[in-house]
């Protein structure tokens, strides 16, 4: 999951949902326990350490505070955060007062403010008082909640995490103790102990506080897209594996089969082995992402190079017709200066203007191609479909090329074609056909070019076959890419966009375009376009 580009105020994102769920779970449990304390103390099982009434209240307040402090705010932002910080401060106060009681060895009379707790025989010294561990956890959790919005300056610690770290350590120790059945983990002496429910609630609440502000602290670093994969793989094993190993060692040693020395040895060796495995996995992931990055970088460099080449080709191509126009314009001025008006007769001028127009059209076509590229890039190559006859369009284009053909061009012919009607964008289809034909003429080495149209089922098929040098296998896909051409830019003019645009036109019509060729034996460009917008599957 990446939060790099995610604004922190995204509605209903996991960063507000998860802490709310966690805090709600804690609130539900503590509210239930508080209810039992207040109304049905007879239901309580006092055989194991229990969450004290004050603890249930403090945890309830802290979890409600976290719900209120979530982002985005549910009701009114200011009111909600004042309330949230108020509740957090109150739970901090509960923890601070109990801590003071222990520190000063005094009884403020708050222990049994809610309920009398004379039911636990061992706790008679201070009935109803929460453990010093729980009191400390309240202080730290409360501070973390109050500081939840502090964003760390560069290279400074994330304060909520700093205060939550001891809470995690203390409560995790207690939870592991309960899991292993080792009382000394959660019970130091007769009074210093923490109920497993309390420990779990603090763990969950701490986690919720960290997740509630994912744009800072450890959650920020662990969920960045570059490392999220690693976090996902390593986080769970890093917590579970040591816990499991410790449990195994404890079982082995308490069973008596394994002594302390052997236990330590096994524990150490297996920890090392597992750490090595995690290091290996980590290295593998890093290496893979590194090579992906290298690949991306290489592709980026290629793209930039292609664009630079394109810029120089494009300016060259634009300058060529401009040069003709400029010579012509200045020639006419010169003729006027020299008084050679007979050279500027209406007939002569007319043919000159026609020539100018051809050059202007050439510039316009180049610019249109470039505009098409940006249209395609932004996904705006929209079609204006109408009922058109492919044979008719092809015939028009072929006739236009025949009219413009120069002496060196090969013969351009069209195979007989009745009518292949379809629902297409006339302008774009015409563009596709003339791109293919102009390529065939350009690369055809003056040999004949044959155009044919047929319909095959629900598809129309256009084929443009030349007798040119053919296209090598490795070039047959490349030539359809942007700014690419069959042979180096020095040899043939043009922007290197024709086939790319043609393929995009075919794609926009849900069709395809490809080349079949044998080096030395010419090439055949084939376009298959569905007759209708939604072809039967």
């Amino acid at each position: 999951m990446s939060n790099d580009s995610m604004p922190s105020s995204t509605q209903c994102s996991w960063t507000s949902l998860i802490p709310t769920l966690l805090a709600s779970a804690v609130a539900a449990v503590t509210a239930t326990l508080l209810g039992i304390w207040l109304f049905r103390p007879d239901l309580k099982d006092f055989s194991s350490p229990t969450m004290k009434a004050n603890t249930t209240l403090g945890l309830l307040l802290a979890s409600l505070a976290l719900i209120l402090l979530q982002r985005p705010a549910l009701i009114r932002k200011r009111l909600q955060s004042y309330l949230g910080f108020g509740l957090a401060a109150f739970s901090l106060l509960i923890g601070a007062l109990h801590s003071l009681e222990y520190l000063l060895d005094m009884n403020f009379g708050i222990d049994e403010l809610l309920v009398t707790d004379a039911l636990i025989p061992e706790a008679l010294a201070n009935p109803g008082r929460m453990s010093p561990i729980a009191a400390l956890c309240f202080v730290f959790t409360g501070i973390a909640l109050l500081l939840i919005d502090t964003t760390p300056k560069k290279r400074k610690a994330h304060l909520p995490s700093v205060f939550l770290a001891p809470v995690f350590l203390i409560t995790f120790l207690a939870v592991v103790g309960y899991l292993y059945g080792v009382t000394s983990f959660y019970k130091i002496g007769p009074y210093i102990r923490i109920a497993w429910q309390t420990a779990v609630c603090f763990l969950i609440l701490g986690l919720g506080i960290l997740i509630a502000r994912p744009d800072a602290g450890p959650i920020y670093f662990m969920t960045r897209s570059s490392v999220a994969d690693m976090t996902r793989r390593l986080l769970i094993p890093a917590i579970l594996v040591p816990v499991l190993l410790g449990w195994l060692r404890l079982q082995a040693q308490t069973s008596g089969y394994v002594g302390l020395e052997l236990g330590i040895a096994f524990h150490t060796v297996s920890l090392v082995a597992i750490f090595m495995l995690l290091v290996g996995i980590n290295a593998y992931i890093l290496d893979r992402s590194e090579s992906q990055k290298d690949l991306l970088f290489a592709r980026l460099e290629d793209a930039i190079r292609a664009r630079d080449d394109f810029l120089s080709i494009a300016s060259h191509e634009l300058k060529t017709p401009l040069t003709s126009l400029k010579i012509q314009t200045q020639l006419r001025q010169r003729l006027l200066e020299k008084g050679q008006h007979e050279q500027l007769s209406p007939d002569r001028l007319n043919s000159l203007f026609e020539a100018d127009n051809r050059q202007l059209n050439r510039i316009n076509r180049l610019i249109d191609d470039m505009l098409d590229i940006s249209r395609i890039r932004s996904g705006q190559l929209s079609l204006q479909r109408e009922e058109v006859d492919l044979c008719g369009i092809v015939r028009e284009v072929v006739e236009r090329f025949q009219a413009q053909a120069s002496a060196e061009d090969g013969e351009l012919s069209m195979q007989l074609c009745d009518s292949v009607p379809g629902h297409w964008d006339r302008f774009r289809i015409e563009q596709l056909i003339s791109n293919l034909i102009s390529n065939a003429v350009k690369y055809g080495n003056g040999k004949p070019v044959v155009v044919s149209v047929s319909s095959a089922g629900s598809f129309a098929r256009l084929s443009v076959k030349d007798d040119g040098p053919g296209i090598a296998v490795e070039d047959r896909e490349r030539i359809f890419h942007r700014f690419e051409r069959a042979i180096s830019a020095n040899l043939v003019s043009g922007l290197g966009l024709g086939l790319y645009i043609s393929r995009e036109i075919a794609r926009a019509h849900h069709g395809r375009i490809w080349v079949e060729s044998k080096p030395g034996l010419g090439s055949e460009f084939i376009a298959e376009i569905p007759l209708q917008k939604d072809p039967p599957k």
Partner: protein, 120 residues
């Protein structure tokens, strides 16, 4: 009276014809080649005619300007001594061994001045 003879080498029909028209108006004689190969053919064929200048495009199919220059250098001395003016629409630097470089599109007056200088 015939003016100096100039060989125009350019693959673009329109530019080639326009330059020929310009040269004609300014009193030059010209021949047109569409690429390096055609230019070499003309130079080898028309040995009895004295070329005053070659106007050479760089980017052409089949044989480009630079390839032409390499071949041109190995022609008999009376031909290979003909000055070459490179005309380019690209950003290329002036190739070694040529008399000058003109960037397209060019100013009529500048072009004319260079023609006069090199055909003298």
């Amino acid at each position: 009276m015939k003016g100096p003879l100039i060989l125009v080498v350019d693959d673009d029909d329109s530019i080639g014809e326009n330059i020929q028209e310009l040269l004609n108006l300014e009193g030059y004689e010209s021949l047109l080649a569409k690429d390096g190969i055609e230019a070499l053919t003309i130079l080898r064929r028309e040995t009895d005619r004295k070329f005053s200048l070659i106007l050479l495009d760089l980017q052409m199919p089949r044989m480009n300007g630079l390839e032409f220059l390499a071949e041109f250098a190995s022609l008999p001395p009376q031909t290979s001594r003909v000055p070459v003016l490179v005309l380019t629409a690209g950003a290329a630097a002036q190739p070694a061994g040529v008399a000058g470089l003109i960037r397209k599109p060019f100013e009529y007056e500048t072009f004319l001045r260079l023609l006069k200088r090199h055909c003298a």
